[in-house]
Symmetry: C2
Subunit: 122 residues, 2 copies
């Protein structure tokens, strides 16, 4: 009950992008959400190194090439509508550019924004 996967069969938005959620393969923590185009999906699968599309730089962004905070792909999943990806990853260092483990470090608690995760010190 399997069939060959073709990144072209995913549903991309008007910019040719699909959201990709990165989840820590060990802890289950959701680390970040970024965007991929079809080429980023193909390169991620081919290399095992998670590669997004940087909207600000308008170029492929192989996570960790400058920071060292790479993501190794353990498994890629596609959702029912084929318009969102879930990546199970081995995260080296902090996923967030603020040097926090996860980008989701701000919780809304009783109407207040509360910082739940401190930057890593190493």
């Amino acid at each position: 009950m399997s069939e060959p996967f073709d990144p072209a069969t995913l549903v991309y938005d008007a910019r040719g992008l699909i959201p990709a959620i990165a989840q820590d393969a060990t802890s289950g923590e959701v680390l970040m959400m970024a965007w991929m185009n079809a080429r980023a999906v193909a390169e991620t699968l081919a290399s095992g190194r998670v590669t997004y599309w940087s909207r600000s730089r308008a170029e492929l962004w192989r996570k960790g090439d400058t920071s060292g905070h790479i993501q190794r792909l353990k498994e890629l999943r596609v959702d029912c509508d084929r318009d969102c990806l879930l990546l199970s990853v081995e995260q080296t260092g902090a996923a967030c550019h603020t040097n926090r483990r996860s980008c989701f470090y701000t919780a809304i608690i009783e109407g207040e924004e509360v910082e739940m995760i401190a930057p890593e010190t190493s």
Copy 2:
């Protein structure tokens, strides 16, 4: 180290929407990704019932109103760029409209699409 939260301060796309990832509060499983507008964010926080914006129906979609598969909000988090939300939820029944626990039931394994989660039978 907290400040009042205002949904208007989030970063919405050109359609006025922000992606929202729902994660099972107990298991850590990522259940689905859908979209919210500022009103959906406000209603979710006020009611504790997760409410998305349905792009196909162009209306607020209080999850579970027709299916019974409601999501109770345990915690809402905002990411570093304020352009993505992470919802920790108590999920009743299946999150996916295909009656699977999670929408992310298809894995890409060695270039093949493999179904990892069967529909629930109840």
